[in-house]
Symmetry: C2
Subunit: 210 residues, 2 copies
DNA sequence: GTCTATACATCGATAGAC
DNA sequence: GTCTATCGATGTATAGAC
């Protein structure tokens, strides 16, 4: 039976990395929201004291912004890469859909963190808000391109982008509701694969492809 | 120039009604979330003191549950009434879609409050969570009925219900994002009408109608 | 870089006067 | 039914030792 020695100040052999702190912060903010997660809780998850966390991030707002921006950036490059390369319009569209679904499926904190930021109004974030707006604008531009090429029927591309975004994010942003409805763990690999194929099918019908 | 007299105890001529307290509570919880809204803030919005609010609701949790349940109940009867009556499958479907969209458009706090509850995992709520699950199950049953009648092509009705719910709620649950994308106030009557028609169009294509 | 200790505000909730 | 006053816990953030 081991006894917990009282913690003492000093430079530890293996200090926690900034990346690890951001990881646990993403988990906390995703689960509890900005207001619900506390610096003490996040520090505890990382195995350090609250004041040590403040050494790495001057304010809670700073920590939140950086944690959120990593998700937005990750998703941005992931989807960006999928859009690169050759192929038909539909092939590029499908690659971006699957990339998004696989990203959300592989990173359980991501969709919920994004959705919370959207619901909060994105007031706390300007940089990330602009990045999100850029992603949506890319989506709008893509749909307009498809309409101009005659592949997609003409409709309001901006309302369409909002609907498409909703279809892609909701399932993973509210996993308890999704799990209760489909009767399975949302992040199980086979469920992610199934949902990915279904989202492709849903969005094809929604966009009027074929 | 009037001077603010200090508040004094006693029975006021016109005490605030429970309905008014629930209304301002819905606004606060919708804007700030459960963790972000405080009993003091809600009391202040209603023009009373925090301790007076605790006279009406024993705990913050009680207030939240009742505020949320009014939205779930309102939406339930609104959509339920739309589903009643005669008409073809598509006519009943369209009535329920339009009822939902008009409800969200007319009650700016509703969709956001619901989405917050979904993102929070519905852990705080059992009764309302069951009510929401019931609405989704009704949706599933309706789609399966449409498939059995040969009106809808066969697909996974449960995943379909999740997608349909996302399309209906997202636009009004994240109004700042929506407004930025479409460049207009989401709750302006003409925008609500436009979005309603577009959602009907989107869901028709998604469901494979016609 | 981490710790102890603390300052100071706000939170949910209670007690008791009117 | 509303108020003043207060309690105890928790929140963000800071100061200074090691």
């Amino acid at each position: 039976m081991t006894t917990d020695l009282p913690r003492r100040p000093g430079r530890p052999a293996r200090p926690v990395t900034r990346e690890h702190l951001l990881k646990v912060a993403r988990e906390a903010f995703s689960q509890l929201g900005y207001a619900g997660a506390s610096m003490g809780d996040i520090a505890g998850r990382a195995g350090i004291r609250k004041s040590s966390l403040f050494h790495h991030f001057a304010t809670k707002d700073d920590l939140y912004r950086e944690a959120l921006s990593t998700v937005v950036a990750d998703l941005g490059v992931f989807v960006g890469q999928a859009l690169q390369g050759d192929g038909t319009f539909v092939e590029r569209l499908d690659r971006s859909i699957l990339a998004t679904q696989h990203y959300f499926g592989a990173h359980p904190v991501a969709a919920r963190l994004l959705m919370r930021e959207f619901v909060d109004g994105g007031a706390a974030i300007t940089a990330a808000g602009d990045a999100v707006a850029a992603v949506l604008e890319t989506s709008v531009a893509m749909f307009e391109q498809g309409m101009n090429e005659g592949i997609l029927p003409r409709t309001d591309a901006r309302h369409l982008a909002m609907t498409v975004a909703a279809v892609q994010i909701q399932f993973y942003a509210t996993p308890e509701v999704s799990a209760r409805l489909v009767g399975a763990d949302v992040f199980a690999p086979d469920v992610v694969e199934q949902r990915s194929q279904i989202v492709v099918e849903h969005l094809h019908r929604l966009l009027g492809i074929k």
